[in-house]
Symmetry: C2
Subunit: 145 residues, 2 copies
DNA sequence: CAGGATCCCGCTAGATACTG
DNA sequence: CAGTATCTAGCGGGATCCTG
């Protein structure tokens, strides 16, 4: 049935999966992408860092060490583990170039890029509304004495 | 300086906070909102459930038991804990009506509603792209033998 | 009904050390 | 450079019991 439009297919997919249901695979997928490191990795790979014109860097290849530097505080374990999971889920590609020493580049796939749009909004939201949240916490904590 | 537009203020906030930095408060905020239950709670409270016209239910008040029913599989502890954190951060309000038995309603604030837009995109993405991810996993696993 | 309070297990993040 | 391997402390999170 290739007669379905992509919009129809997406609507159908949404009917099949419902993250509100405990057993639904999309619940587990939601859990996986609702992760601090996933968010930051997607943001790093999807965003142009501005060093070469910040208009719209649709995708960006980064090396392992670049990522670990940009995601301050991430352990090698978490970085590797998260990258592997994202590769397995088809969100990014891992390309090994057999130089000496070896070079590994990570790059978003189209699928990863489609998620990046949403992920980026989350990260921006956190940065933009930090002040409001801090103020809210202060009044909440003061009230509870 | 109330001469700043809201767009300017947001841009400024984004400069002050950078979730890529380990010590930045926004990193911690990002971690908090990158959570399965947060996503589902925000989605539940922000979405109209379709029972009264699914065009655009901007906000929706729900009772504790309604939430626990809709978020299948959530424990009371996690539900209560997450709701408290979201209330503290100013994303939702908790209203107690002293009936017998007591009635408690949760409702998104404007701040919560602003995050809901982004959160909803994440949940929809997970449901819409589940098939692609599953297929990707299969080929990945098959390759690794 | 809407939680609060405890107990407790699992697992997983993070630190450390080693390698091709 | 780009990981892998191992260990452990800590806490996320579920189960259970209790209350206003």
């Amino acid at each position: 049935m290739p007669t379905l439009t992509s919009a129809q297919r997406r609507a159908q997919a949404r009917q099949e999966y419902d993250a509100f249901l405990a057993g639904c695979p999309s619940r587990q997928l939601l859990d996986r992408i609702s992760d601090k490191w996933v968010t930051l990795i997607l943001a790093a790979l999807g965003d142009d860092d501005g060093s070469c014109g910040q208009v719209a860097g649709p995708a960006r290849a980064m090396r392992y060490s670049e990522l670990s530097r940009q995601l301050a505080g991430v352990s090698q374990k978490m970085l590797t583990q998260t990258l592997r999971a994202l590769e397995r889920d088809g969100l990014l590609t891992r390309t090994v170039t057999p130089t000496v020493p070896v070079t590994v580049r990570y790059e978003l796939t189209d699928l990863g890029l489609s998620l990046h749009q949403a992920i980026r909004a989350i990260k921006s939201w956190a940065e933009e509304h930090m002040d409001e949240v801090i103020r809210s916490r202060e009044t909440y904590d003061a009230h509870a004495t």
